[in-house]
């Protein structure tokens, strides 16, 4: 649609704007001639009844119409034609073009004057109309560009939009070049496949290095045929991209407004690139903060979750060694059992820690297409092996594939089950469902995959629920172990959330909610 608009604008605007100078067209001549003929025939047939003065007025009207309608030159020609017609019918000798009296010359002069004044005035009028049309067209182009730029999500969108409009405005090739590994490379070109010449590449490179426009060499001179502007959304000169467009042809008298439009577009593009750079920086900052918070949460829970088993192991071992003689055999057995249990607990924590360390890095999560149902089932099976006495039900239908990492997703579900086993006696139910996008959600949001673990315990303490629901990875409430923190970290890493609520049966429901990518809708 945009292409069509710009093409239309191109047709409308490239006619010359100084109308009174325009060479008369054949159509104009024919039109003017037919008007004159109509008047002449009318006057000729009514010659007996029409006084001479009225006939002159009629011919003058024809001249005015022609001058106003077809321009200065046709107006002048019409003046001669009208005089000839009038002379032919009214001036003695009748039906000849012979001019016998001086007043005929005066009539001719009046006709010519009327024709030229009318032609000039109407020409000026057209000029103004054209100028207004050009302004409207410029505004339309600019508003179109800014609308498109507002929707641009990446710098390459911006360059594509820029190149397309520069091509339409300059009616010649338009290019975008940008730095790749410190070298300027072609990013986009319209017409597609256009290969810049060496002189153009050199000019682009100059513009990029010096940070100022490099203008096309004048027609007939060797050098770049394109004008290059450096456009920078970042802070460093080397981050700039270079936009090039063909020289606006010098014979186009309205090229001035095109230059202005191009200058404005360059500013708009700079702003769009700056906006994208700022957005990107803010996102990076958010990612960094999340990772910092994750680290802080990890450190805080390390203390509790790693040192408690260590304290038991070290304390029990030293008790056995130093006080072994005074301990009853039952007490010695109990201490050994405690050591074994705590060593196993420690091993599980270390495993989780390794996973959390990967999560912490954020970028190291290798998302692939994962069957969420398989991952959840794997977690259930692992939990059943770990706690043979726990009653764990599963209700996991075939679920859509999502972008995640199977091992981490399994761990996230496993941690929720572990939490339930630890704190809630009774049946634990692991379920998987898919929810439609909530009504009124942003258009981008798709379906949501929900993996839930429901227990029959006393429900989660309020602060933990609130903490889970928050975006923050800061230290959870004191009761939060490493498990829930990791589950939350995993959910966030895959673009999801974690939520806690109370089940109808009185226990807690913990949900990992993950977005289902759009492509899976089919």
């Amino acid at each position: 649609m945009n292409q069509v608009d710009t093409a239309q604008f191109k047709d409308a605007q490239f006619r010359d704007d100084r109308r009174w100078m325009t060479a008369p067209s054949l159509g104009g001549f024919l039109g003017a001639a037919s008007i004159l003929v109509v008047i002449a025939v009318t006057v000729g047939s009514a010659r007996q009844v029409l006084p001479e003065s009225i006939a002159i007025l009629l011919f003058l009207t024809a001249v005015l119409i022609n001058a106003a309608g077809f321009g200065f030159w046709i107006g002048i020609a019409s003046a001669f034609g009208a005089l000839a017609g009038f002379n032919f019918m009214y001036v003695e000798p009748h039906f000849t073009l012979h001019i016998a009296q001086p007043q005929d010359l005066i009539t001719l002069a009046v006709f010519l004057l009327a024709a030229s004044i009318t032609g000039l005035i109407s020409g000026r009028l057209r000029e103004q109309v054209d100028a207004a049309e050009a302004r409207a067209a410029a505004l339309e182009v600019l508003s179109q560009v800014s609308t498109e730029l507002a929707g641009a999500a990446t710098p390459s969108d911006v360059t594509r939009i820029a190149v397309r409009h520069l091509n339409a405005l300059s009616m010649g090739p338009a290019l975008a070049l940008g730095p790749v590994d410190g070298q300027l490379r072609l990013l986009a070109a319209v017409p597609e496949g256009y290969l810049p010449e060496a002189s153009e590449l050199e000019a682009a490179d100059n513009a990029w290095r010096r940070g100022r426009p490099e203008f096309a060499s004048a027609q007939g001179w060797s050098g770049s045929r394109l004008t290059f502007y450096p456009v920078n959304g970042g802070t460093e000169r080397k981050d700039a991209i270079v936009l090039g467009h063909a020289r606006i042809p010098a014979d186009r008298r309205n090229h001035g407004w095109r230059d202005q439009v191009i200058a404005v577009i360059m500013r708009q593009i700079t702003q769009a690139l700056q906006r994208l750079a700022l957005t990107e920086r803010a996102a990076a900052e958010r990612r960094r903060a999340t990772s910092e918070e994750l680290r802080a949460a990890l450190l805080a829970s390390l203390s509790h979750d790693l040192r408690t088993p260590l304290a038991t192991i070290l304390g029990s071992v030293t008790t056995l060694r130093q006080l072994g003689g005074t301990l009853s055999p039952e007490a010695q057995d109990d201490l050994l059992a405690a050591i074994e249990e705590e060593a196993e607990r420690l091993a599980r924590y270390v495993e989780k820690l390794l996973q959390l360390t990967r999560l912490q890095a954020g970028v190291e999560v290798h998302s692939t297409w994962v069957d969420a149902g398989d991952a959840a089932l794997a977690a259930v099976n692992r939990a059943r092996r770990a706690w043979p006495d726990a009653r764990i039900e599963d209700a996991i239908p075939p679920l859509p594939m999502i972008h995640a990492e199977a091992g981490l997703l399994e761990q996230a579900v496993f941690n929720l089950i572990e939490n339930a086993v630890k704190y809630a006696p009774g049946v634990i139910r692991v379920a998987g469902t898919v929810e439609a996008a909530p009504a009124g959600a942003e258009p981008g949001t798709g379906r949501v995959l929900v993996l839930s673990v429901t227990d029959r315990g006393r429900g989660l303490p309020g602060p933990i629920g609130e903490w889970l629901a928050s975006d923050s990875m800061t230290v959870g409430p004191q009761l939060t172990g490493l498990g829930l923190q990791i589950s939350k970290g995993i959910a966030l890493a895959f673009g999801g959330t974690i939520a806690a609520s109370h089940s109808a049966l009185g226990g807690a429901v913990l949900e990992i909610r993950l977005p289902v990518p759009k492509e899976q809708g089919a």
Binding site: T308, P309, T312, L323, D334, A338, L479
Partner: protein, 232 residues
């Protein structure tokens, strides 16, 4: 034989309670258990134990709060167990009136040694002369000798030494030392304290770089080494 002394163990981790129970029983103490702060305070109100071992990270209230409430009515010795390695936690607990701290994880010998210090009756009458590792401190005469040789100490150095040595085995926080020796206005002048400790070590210690009398508790304070006779 006197009756066995009672230790109240306050920790929310059953495993810690489990091994501490066995260990303290074997070491000849009675034990009572509490899983959180309010239980601990209720247990103390019902019958005061001889000492409390208190974990700082409790589910219902912070260990510091337990100490604060306890100190309103009792000077029961408190040894803080801390799984938090943040110095501030320990320092605040000690400043609030805890007698000592043991960081998790710990060997039982260390805890038992701290227990004995904590259970040792506080000196009601000042000991006149402290003698340890060849250093003799005569508190009344303001005289210190090392291997029979008279040492020259400034009055402040002597005051600091007296406070440390009369609390042998107990950790003294920077704040407490500064307050007792220099007064409440100087409780934050830790660098000042460090200079004086350095001078004391130069004069007292056999090897000032590896002190054996004035021990550093990093970030927290100093401790006068427990006399040999008190060690296991």
């Amino acid at each position: 034989m006197t009756t066995r002394q009672t230790i109240l163990i306050v920790d929310d981790e059953p495993q810690i309670q489990r091994f501490l129970g066995h260990a303290l029983m074997a070491a000849g103490y009675e034990t009572r258990l509490a899983g959180n702060g309010s239980e601990a305070l209720a247990s103390i109100a019902a019958q005061e134990p001889d000492l409390m071992i208190l974990d700082l990270g409790l589910p219902d209230m912070n260990g510091k709060e337990v100490i604060e409430r306890l100190r309103l009515r009792s000077d029961l010795p408190v040894i803080v167990l801390s799984a938090h390695d943040q110095e501030m936690e320990k320092i605040m607990a000690l400043d609030l009136g805890a007698d000592d701290f043991v960081a998790k994880p710990f060997a039982i010998g260390e805890l038992l040694a701290r227990l004995r210090v904590g259970l040792r009756p506080r000196r009601s009458s000042r000991v006149e002369v402290i003698s340890q590792d060849g250093v003799v401190i005569d508190l009344d005469a303001h005289q210190v000798t090392r291997d029979g040789e008279q040492l020259r100490l400034t009055p402040k150095e002597f005051d600091l030494l007296a406070v440390l040595a009369s609390n042998a085995g107990r950790v003294m926080t920077h704040r407490r030392l500064l307050q007792q020796v220099w007064g409440p206005a100087h409780v934050d002048d830790v660098p000042y304290l460090r200079v004086f400790i350095g001078q004391l070590r130069q004069k007292l210690e056999a090897d000032p770089a590896r002190p054996s009398l004035i021990l550093t508790e990093p970030g927290i304070g100093y401790r006068w080494a427990q006399p040999e006779s008190g060690k296991t």
